[in-house]
């Protein structure tokens, strides 16, 4: 056999080896692998995880509280620097916009997948009410903070679209949980629906839902030390770093209020520690101390304040005060007297909502709607909501 005759054989050997081009990469999960009943629990856990991630980052490193009067910027990050000046740009909000939209899409798309995979078992599956609940809270998070709505690559719509989708999802969460006897989700769904009905101006419906939620009920977005993705980033940015401070906010004057806990950090020389910007005094929020501290999504005390605000809107300051004192009682706080005027009543209600919902991602909506009604002036001269994220503007042909 001549040497030259090895060539075809050698090439054949290599070519056969080359035939096998399969990739092995066991990390990423292919999409069709989720089309299984066995994958549903993790899919719904993911809805919860994406919602917590969106909320935690919005409150933490992305500086959401600085858009409002909840915290002052004391660090180096660029976006909160703008927020502190009342400037909210599409570029700055883009990470939060993406996180919030992902939380919404994951829940809504997941429900579509669950219906296809579970078929007739969909209604009775214990994950179904959970999924609807997360879809509701994700839509509410968007609705309360965004100026406009965009759904699944569509055109810009009124922000009320988010609230309408949230109301629908909370209703389905309530119905399926009620049928399954899941009291926690029933209460969470009612509380969520009450808040979005109020946002839509349906105060009667809001009061009806709110009155069915126990005063001490709390439903949380879950955080954990288990992995960095599960960390509460607000705790990270204020207890590991010094990016935001209570200094300079209305809550700095309420250091005995259990709803707005904070402390002062001192240097070794006894001076007040400054934030990471080197200049702002660092008053540290203590509502979330650990990276595993959960953030409330729905609370019975908020339900009392919805009922209080509904009463105020009807001019009944006595009933309003009654509900507020019920809420204060939950926190062991002394009752307050009935305000002497409507202006005082609004100030009281707005303070109470600010304190009860402090650092829960709800404040911008309250300030925005009160600003629109002329009962609060913090947002005067400032941007009042978050625009559509820059990435959506650049990539969505319906927005060009």
């Amino acid at each position: 056999m001549r040497l030259t005759s090895i060539l075809p054989l050698a090439l054949a050997g290599l070519a056969c080896a080359a035939c096998d081009l399969s990739v092995t990469n066991p990390g990423p999960v292919q999409d069709d692998q989720l089309n299984s009943p066995a994958a549903i629990p993790a899919l719904v856990n993911g809805m919860s995880g994406d919602l917590s991630f969106a909320l935690g980052n919005f409150l933490g490193g992305d500086g959401g509280p600085v858009m409002t009067d909840e915290l002052t910027h004391s660090g180096n990050f660029a976006a909160p620097n703008d927020y502190e000046s009342g400037i909210i740009t599409s570029t700055d909000v883009d990470p939060d916009y993406q996180n919030m939209q992902r939380a919404r899409w994951v829940a809504e798309d997941g429900l579509r997948r669950m219906q296809a995979v579970l078929g007739t078992d969909f209604e009775s599956n214990p994950n179904t009410p959970r999924a609807y609940l997360y879809a509701g809270f994700a839509n509410r998070l968007l609705g309360e903070n965004m100026c406009q709505a965009v759904i699944d690559g569509g055109p810009a719509q009124s922000d009320s679209v988010y609230f309408q989708r949230a109301e629908s999802s909370f209703t389905r969460a309530y119905e399926t949980a009620n049928a399954q006897g899941n009291t926690t989700i029933v209460n969470a769904a009612l509380a969520g629906r009450a808040s979005v009905r109020a946002a839509l101006g349906d105060w009667a419906g809001a009061v009806d839902d709110a009155s069915r939620v126990p005063a001490t009920f709390v439903f949380y977005a879950i955080f954990s030390l288990n992995s960095s993705r599960e960390n509460n980033d607000l705790a990270n940015q204020t207890h590991v770093r010094r990016e935001m401070s209570v200094w300079g906010t209305p809550w700095a004057a309420t250091n005995a209020d259990p709803r707005t806990p904070w402390d002062t950090v001192f240097t070794s020389s006894g001076k007040v520690q400054t934030g990471n910007d080197g200049t702002t005094k660092f008053f540290r929020q203590d509502k979330y101390v650990l990276l595993s501290d959960d953030i409330p999504l729905a609370k019975g005390t908020e339900m009392l304040l919805i009922r209080a605000e509904a009463a105020l809107r009807s001019g009944d300051t006595t009933t309003m005060t009654n509900f507020i004192n019920q809420e204060r009682d939950v926190y062991g706080m002394a009752p307050v007297p009935v305000p002497a005027s409507m202006d005082d009543a609004w100030a009281l209600l707005q303070f109470e909502r600010g304190a009860v919902l402090w650092l829960e991602g709800r404040r911008l909506w309250d300030l925005r709607r009160w600003h629109a009604e002329g009962t609060n002036h913090f947002l005067d001269g400032r941007d009042t909501c978050m625009p559509i994220g820059a990435s959506e503007l650049a990539s969505n042909p319906n927005l060009q």
Binding site: M1, G13, L14, A18, P28, N81, R102, S224
Partner: protein, 1099 residues
């Protein structure tokens, strides 16, 4: 599924078994003593060879010679078999008559018949020639062979020439000269031989030498300098090719140009030694790897690192994982010890790299290590001692050098805060001289059948801060075995271990430069014992308590089989194994304030395996008298496997050395286990006319496991032309000795990553540790490689009596179907980008190299080299998109602008004494330099004193000086802003005229209003000149060192001097952890100087 390894094995066995096949067709015995004996040349004396095992002797031919001379008969055998004969008339009378008519007769039988009773033996050499020597009766007393000795010197200066190759033409007998230019070839059979001496940079010279038994004969050479590289052999995808045949530029860096230079690694070798190569240092951390680009940027998403081969084995061309706190990486490329490198070939563009297939569009760097030569063992030993040093750090007007040069005593900040660093070293500076030591030793030698090169090295260098250093050591063994004529088997193996200790650097809270340069705003301010009245007592030394290291093992082994006997067919097979594992670990000890009071340990364990199977075969055939056709085919497969596990543990119970279960919280924070295969084959045809016009056409076809399901195989074509015009008889152009024109057009590509084509979800945890999914990537079933088409043209000429060579190349690259990370609407759920084949890039440039002897006399020579590179990489049609590379670095890719560039806020009235007028989305400058000018000089005085110097300008690049951005505002310790900020304070206090002489740019950069500052104001040009190295070498006369063949002493300095207007610490640095494609100087420690003394000797 067929195992790829099994297929390699089949191919290997087929290749190796071939010579032995068909043994039954051949006679068992040697011809009788009346006919010639068939012998194989060896280092001692020729040994009988089994004619069945020699392919050329088995070849069948037909002879019809009723009455021919011996000379004519041998010519007829040569014509049909390709076996060439050498003999002298003293040995055999060529006019003797022979009579032979035979069909299908083997070459061995034909020679036996033709040479019957001629009284000669046939001695086969490894390069396929046959020498006819006088037949000796084995029963007669054995005659001894002779010895050839001599010296090779420069014809003009009479300087000895080291590492010149001296061989007896047509045999395997040969050696290389030592540093004294001396050589010795033992065991040369008596007779007249043709002896040649050659060396890169010199014209080859031959002479006839008559060797007498038991005698030593002397043959000295005086080689004339020749700048022409036309006859140099380079290694292409098809095998060895003469430079004159190439239609594209290939740069070669040979060991002579680096033997005296203070090079630590391959990265250093590439700096300033050839055009078209950009090397950026990145960091002043010992062991940190740089950024290497060939011909600029032709990919946005797939990296622009060239692929790398070491002795035919492809190794991983990326960097190791980024150190958690060092924020730099090491380069596996740098594990090849510089003292082991014989030469480096740089193949720069897709027109030249087409046959290397997908992934080669960034160019190819081929590293060839030293191999053994026949002869007695030759030892080489090198010992280097020295130190690293950094001078003034930061702005020249800052007397404290950002508190690094001077940290002593009590300081008062611009805002009136008094502070003292109680932990400042007794020297009053954080800087120190870091000890450098390097040792290497090698031995090479062998017989004509087996040669070896064995080497070892150890290097240790400390950085210039209290922490940080690099230790690496390794061994190499290269063995070459020639079992039969034309056959060569090689085994090249190396092992390197590296340990890099990093100090915290870059954009993080523990960074040395960040904390120290911020003065009173350092995060480490819990010091005690400061002077009375000091308000802030710093303890910056604590930042060095955080430890971080990269521990790396790199094993490369390659097996090669090569067949290249005299004849039309040649082939080679390379099998390679590149294994690289590394541990990254960072520890914040228990009690580490202020970030991790209970401690934290971060780690990553990673390994990468790259398997290579590479086969190529060539067939040469003459067509008529003037045309030679060379047909090549080949196939390659690369199997890339990667595993990684990231670990984290926090909150230790107390002090001590933690492991990954020491903390109260432990977790696996990341894991990857991937395998990607790239396989393809090629065919190439080269048609040569009169050895001066070469037309090459080729096609590469590739498959890749990362291509989308709809994409299939990819074909990359190429065509090139080379014309050695000066070989024409009519060539009489004054001053131009040789001229080659060349042009090439070709394509190559880059493959997307594993799973880039598929819609995927990530498995994560949620609900306090419960399993969960989250969207990962939206997927694209049509995903394919991006393709780069390049056209290049140029010339290589020599002038000034062949003393000066000029190479010029213009190229234009067009990357189409560019893989662009496309952002999908977040309202569709997938927030990460998806690669799409939607972009277009254009990249063009000019490369110019001029080198040669400017002045050459006996006691003084002046050799100079100038490399010039101009490159322009521009984004073409991106579908109107702006590609965000790194928004905090203000780095984007936009249509019509250099790739990548800085964009953002720009002061449009920078020099006006007025408030800044801001353009919010302006082009600020290109990230990478677009011009590199590298002059190099070598002076030799009195034959034994040599001075080498290399400098480099890099022009056109920009860098975001985030250090200045932060220190100007956060700590107000940026000296260039001091006076401006003083005036701003005065203005704020009511002095309306305080800002009258403050420009708009100064106001923007030094603002005290946090809402008005922006990174973009600090994007600065990085134009710089660096004196890269200066070396003075004294060749110690052998008479002064008994028992030593050669010795030299070198004094070297590296990175000696920098000239730049960039206001930061170093225009070359970048915080690599931020993004590999954007560059941001975010508290990155500058590169340092190195001073060394090296003693080398050989024996």
């Amino acid at each position: 599924m067929r195992s790829p390894g099994m297929s390699w094995l089949i191919a290997l066995l087929v290749l190796l078994a071939a010579p032995a096949a068909g043994a039954q067709q051949w006679p068992d015995t040697q011809p009788t003593v009346h006919g010639p004996r068939f012998l194989l040349a060896s280092s001692s004396s020729p040994v009988p060879v089994d004619v069945r095992r020699v392919a050329v002797l088995r070849r069948r031919i037909a002879l019809d010679l009723p009455d021919a001379s011996l000379d004519e008969a041998l010519a007829a055998i040569t014509a049909q078999s390709g076996l060439r004969f050498m003999y002298s008339n003293d040995v055999m009378r060529p006019s003797g008559r022979v009579h032979i008519r035979a069909q299908e007769i083997t070459v061995a039988a034909a020679l036996t018949e033709v040479l019957m009773d001629a009284g000669v033996d046939v001695v086969l050499s490894p390069n396929g020639q046959a020498m006819l020597t006088r037949h000796e009766d084995p029963r007669a007393p054995r005659r001894q062979n002779g010895v050839i000795v001599g010296t090779v010197v420069d014809a003009a200066t009479h300087e000895p020439i080291a590492t010149a190759t001296v061989v007896i033409e047509g045999t395997r007998l040969g050696t290389m000269t030592n540093d004294s230019g001396q050589y010795r070839i033992p065991n040369v059979p008596p007779g007249t031989v043709t002896l040649s001496a050659r060396r890169i940079g010199y014209a080859k010279q031959t002479q006839s030498v008559t060797v007498t038994a038991d005698r030593e004969v002397r043959a000295d050479f005086a080689l004339a300098r020749s700048a022409s590289a036309l006859e140099q052999v380079v290694i292409t995808a098809t095998g060895e090719t003469r430079n004159r045949e190439l239609g594209n530029a290939v740069s070669e860096i040979d060991s002579a140009s680096i033997s005296r230079a203070p090079v630590n690694d391959v990265q250093d070798i590439l700096v300033g030694r050839t055009s078209g190569v950009t090397v950026l240092g990145n960091s002043g951390q010992p062991g940190a790897g740089g950024t290497i680009r060939l011909r600029g940027v032709n990919s946005i998403s797939q990296g622009n690192s060239p692929i790398i081969y070491v002795d035919g084995v492809r190794i991983y061309n990326g960097s190791t994982g980024t150190s958690f706190t060092g924020r730099q990486t090491t380069l596996p490329l740098n594990d090849i010890d510089a003292s082991d490198i014989d030469h480096v070939e740089v193949v720069k563009g897709p027109a030249a790299t087409t046959l290397y297939g997908t992934e080669a569009s960034g160019g190819v760097i081929q590293i060839f290590t030293k191999h053994g030569t026949a002869g007695r063992p030759q030892w080489t030993v090198g010992v280097t001692q020295g130190f690293n040093n950094v001078g003034h750090v930061g702005p020249k007007g800052d007397p404290t050098g950002m508190f690094l040069n001077d940290c002593s005593g009590v300081h008062t900040s611009a805002t009136g805060v008094t502070f003292q660093d109680i932990t400042c070293p007794a020297s009053g500076s954080w800087l120190r001289n870091g000890y450098v030591q390097q040792y290497n030793a090698s031995v090479r030698g062998g017989t004509s059948d087996v040669t070896y090169y064995v080497a070892g090295n150890y290097e240790q260098e400390a950085g210039v801060l209290p922490e940080g250093g690099n230790k690496n050591g390794g061994v190499r063994g290269n063995v070459t075995f020639r079992p039969a004529t034309g056959f060569e088997l090689g085994l090249n193996t190396s092992f390197t271990q590296r340990h890099v200790d990093w100090f915290a650097d870059g954009n993080q809270g523990q960074s040395a430069l960040l904390n120290i340069s911020r003065g009173a705003s350092s995060s480490f301010k819990l010091g005690t014992g400061c002077a009375s009245g000091v308000t802030v007592c710093l303890n910056n030394a604590e930042l060095f308590d955080a430890t971080s290291f990269t521990r790396q093992h790199h094993y490369i082994t390659g097996f090669s089989a090569k067949y290249d006997a005299e004849g039309p067919f040649s082939a080679r097979l390379n099998l390679g194994y590149d294994y690289d594992d590394y541990d990254l670990q960072t520890e914040f000890p228990f009690g580490f304030e202020p970030s991790f009071p209970q401690g934290e340990l971060l780690g990553a364990v990673r390994n990468r395996t790259l398997l290579t199977a590479d086969f190529a075969a060539n067939w040469k055939q003459g067509i008529g008298r003037d045309v030679l056709s060379t047909t090549s085919i080949g196939a390659q497969m690369f199997d890339n496997r990667y595993r990684s596990t990231d670990l984290q543990t926090q909150n230790f119970a107390g002090p001590g050395i933690p492991v990954f279960n020491s903390g109260a919280l432990t977790g696996i924070t990341g894991a990857e286990n991937s395998r990607v295969i790239n396989a393809g084959f090629f065919a190439q045809e080269v048609v040569a006319w009169r050895d001066r016009v070469f037309v090459t056409g080729g096609l590469r076809v590739d498959g890749n496991s990362a291509f989308g399901s709809s994409f299939g195989l990819q074909a990359y074509p190429k065509v090139s032309v080379a014309y050695v015009m000066s070989d024409e008889s009519w060539w009489h152009v004054p001053f131009v000795r040789s001229l080659k024109l060349r042009g090439a057009l070709g394509e190559s590509g880059k493959a997307p990553g594993a799973f880039d084509a598929v819609r995927t979800w990530s498995a994560v945890a949620a609900e306090d540790g419960q399993p969960a999914f989250t969207p990962n990537q939206i997927g694209n079933p049509n995903l394919g490689p991006e393709r780069t088409r390049e056209i290049e043209g140029g010339f290589d000429l020599t002038t000034a009596d062949d003393r000066v060579t000029i190479n010029a190349t213009y190229y234009a690259q067009h990357t189409f179907d560019a893989l662009i990370p496309v952002t999908y609407p977040a309202s569709l759920g997938f927030t990460s980008t998806q690669l799409e084949n939607v972009g277009e890039l254009r990249n063009k440039g000019i490369e110019l190299t001029a080198s040669g002897d400017i002045f050459r006399r006996e006691n003084f020579t002046w050799n100079a080299r100038l490399n010039y590179t101009w490159v322009k990489s521009t984004a073409g049609d991106l579908g109107g998109r702006t590609i965000t590379i790194e928004s905090l670095s203000r780095t984007f890719v936009k249509e019509g602008y250099p790739v990548p560039s800085y964009f953002g806020y720009k002061v449009t009235n920078p020099d006006a004494f007025a408030d800044p007028i801001i353009d919010s989305s302006a082009y600020l400058g290109a990230t990478f330099p677009n011009q590199i000018i590298s002059p190099a000089m070598t002076f030799t005085l009195w034959k034994n004193l040599t001075i080498d110097a290399i400098g480099e300008w890099q022009l056109g690049g920009h860098l975001l000086n985030a250090t200045a951005y932060q220190n100007a505002f956060v700590s107000q310790t940026w000296q260039p802003c001091f006076s401006v900020q003083e005036k701003i304070r005065a203005f704020q206090a009511g002095d309306a005229n305080a800002l009258d002489d403050v420009t708009a740019l100064q106001r923007a950069r030094c603002t005290l209003d946090g809402s008005q500052r922006d990174y973009a104001f600090w994007v600065e040009p990085t134009d710089f000149f660096k004196l890269r190295s200066v070396t003075v070498t004294y060749a110690i006369p052998p008479r002064l060192v008994r028992g030593i063949q050669n010795a030299s002493l070198s004094l070297s300095g590296r990175n000696l001097w920098t000239s730049t207007k960039y206001s930061g610490t170093d225009p070359e640095v970048a915080d690599i952890a931020t993004n590999s494609f954007s560059r941001r100087d975010y508290y990155v420690f500058p590169t340092y100087r190195t001073f060394t003394a090296t003693l080398r000797f050989g024996f």
